[in-house]
Amino acid sequence: MTEKVRDNIKKILLGQLEYRSSNLALNMLITKLKRKIQSDPGSMDQCMKEIAEFSEKSPIIAKVDFANIAAL
């Protein structure tokens, strides 16, 4: 995950950027993590770990989505 992707994902989770995936699991994960951060603003690092884990376990999905997120 590049710095640009990391930064943009943080912005997505904070609601500062909008990104909608065509992948159901990623959309569910983003929604879940956004809610987590809303209720606990200090959980960003934990949320980023979950995103990293998702990308490791779903590399094909992550490749497409991360390219799109980098271009935001």
């Binding site: 065509s22 159901l24 699991a25 569910m28 994960l29 983003i30 879940k32 956004k34 809303q38």
Partner: protein, 320 residues
């Protein structure tokens, strides 16, 4: 494919890995083998929606390199995230009305790692208005259950991946009031409408809301439905829970379900769904009997699992 009991037995005996749906009177006659199954007499076939107790809907899962099955109760159903294959698909069938469904419905959205593993499935049921038995089957062990989930773990080749997706013909109207709930609930008395606490049943009655339309929540562009089971004087019972902190609106009415499905399917980039699970409420409210939904064939379900339990949706998976 919708086939006879004899043809199904032949496939089982050939050693094929199978997913089977049908009436309990047929499922209970099947021999042990590499299969899991669940009860429903409703199907979406190439010829259209059909209700039959004389045939079984059988799907060959020949993409899998390895398979194993298991069953779980409400206390251990989330072991599925630990016991699945690293690159695989988890196929889950649960009996309608069981405690394991309730547990799964309420807690799955918060289960660590569930979204990391493609997980798809359906809720087994029976002919509406009858006392026909609702059961799920583990063909490997030869056991069947009305209170446990059966799971088939499928290992995929390294160059393949499973994609779980859904087609939802319902959408909200962003100008409608936002409805929120204070807890994860299957039975609701109070809710907040645009922040103001009201009795949910009274609100529905006062606004003359068509309760055949589901509540819709926008999950980052993926619309997740929650359907109303019964609207009482004071309480609303749901087929899947609403969740605390999620914003809901009622779906806009749908004129013609088949037309809506056709439009959504046309805009998808799905290659070839292996099997799909379409909700009994779509079958009923949309009059799907005898009407075709191209390529998205499979059992009609009493709840769909796309990672979490959802309603009034067509869920499918593909291997690419």
């Amino acid at each position: 494919m919708l086939i006879s009991l004899e043809e199904t037995v032949k496939l089982i005996k050939s050693g094929s890995i199978l997913h089977i749906a049908g009436d309990n009177s047929l499922l209970e006659k099947l021999p042990k083998g590499n299969w899991i199954g669940g009860t429903t007499p409703y199907f979406i076939t190439d010829e259209g929606g059909v209700m039959t107790k004389d045939k079984l809907f059988v799907t060959e899962l020949d993409f899998a390199e390895e398979m194993r099955t298991a069953s779980y109760g409400k206390y251990n159903v989330f072991q599925i995230v630990e016991e699945c294959f690293e690159n695989g698909l988890t196929l889950l069938i649960m009996p309608y009305g069981s405690k394991v469904v309730e547990k799964y419905a309420k807690e799955s959205p918060e289960v660590e790692e569930l979204l990391m593993h493609p997980t798809v499935g359906w809720i087994a049921g029976a002919e509406l208005g009858t006392d026909d038995e609702i059961r799920v089957y583990d063909g490997v062990s030869g056991e069947s259950y009305n209170d446990r989930a059966v799971v088939m773990y499928l290992r995929l080749p390294d160059n393949k991946t499973a994609l779980v997706n859904m087609i939802n013909i319902f959408q909200d109207d962003k100008t409608d009031p936002v409805i929120t709930f204070s807890d994860n609930e299957l039975s609701v008395t109070k809710c907040r409408v645009n922040g103001q606490e009201v009795n949910f049943a009274e609100y529905i009655k006062r606004k003359k809301i068509d309760t055949r339309m589901p509540l819709v929540a926008d999950y980052n562009g993926s619309y997740i439905n929650t359907s109303i089971k019964t609207a009482g004087e004071d309480t609303i019972d749901l087929y899947a829970p609403v969740f605390k902190g999620v914003e809901y609106r009622f779906a806009r009415p749908v004129d013609d379900y088949v037309t809506e499905f056709a439009e959504r399917i046309g805009s998808l980039r799905a290659d070839a769904p292996v099997v799909s699970f379409n909700c009994i409420l779509n079958y009923l409210y949309g009059g799907l009997e005898g009407r075709k939904i191209d390529t998205y064939c499979g059992p009609v379900s009493f709840g769909e699992v796309a990672y979490q339990l959802i309603n009034q949706t067509l869920v499918y998976f593909e291997i690419s």
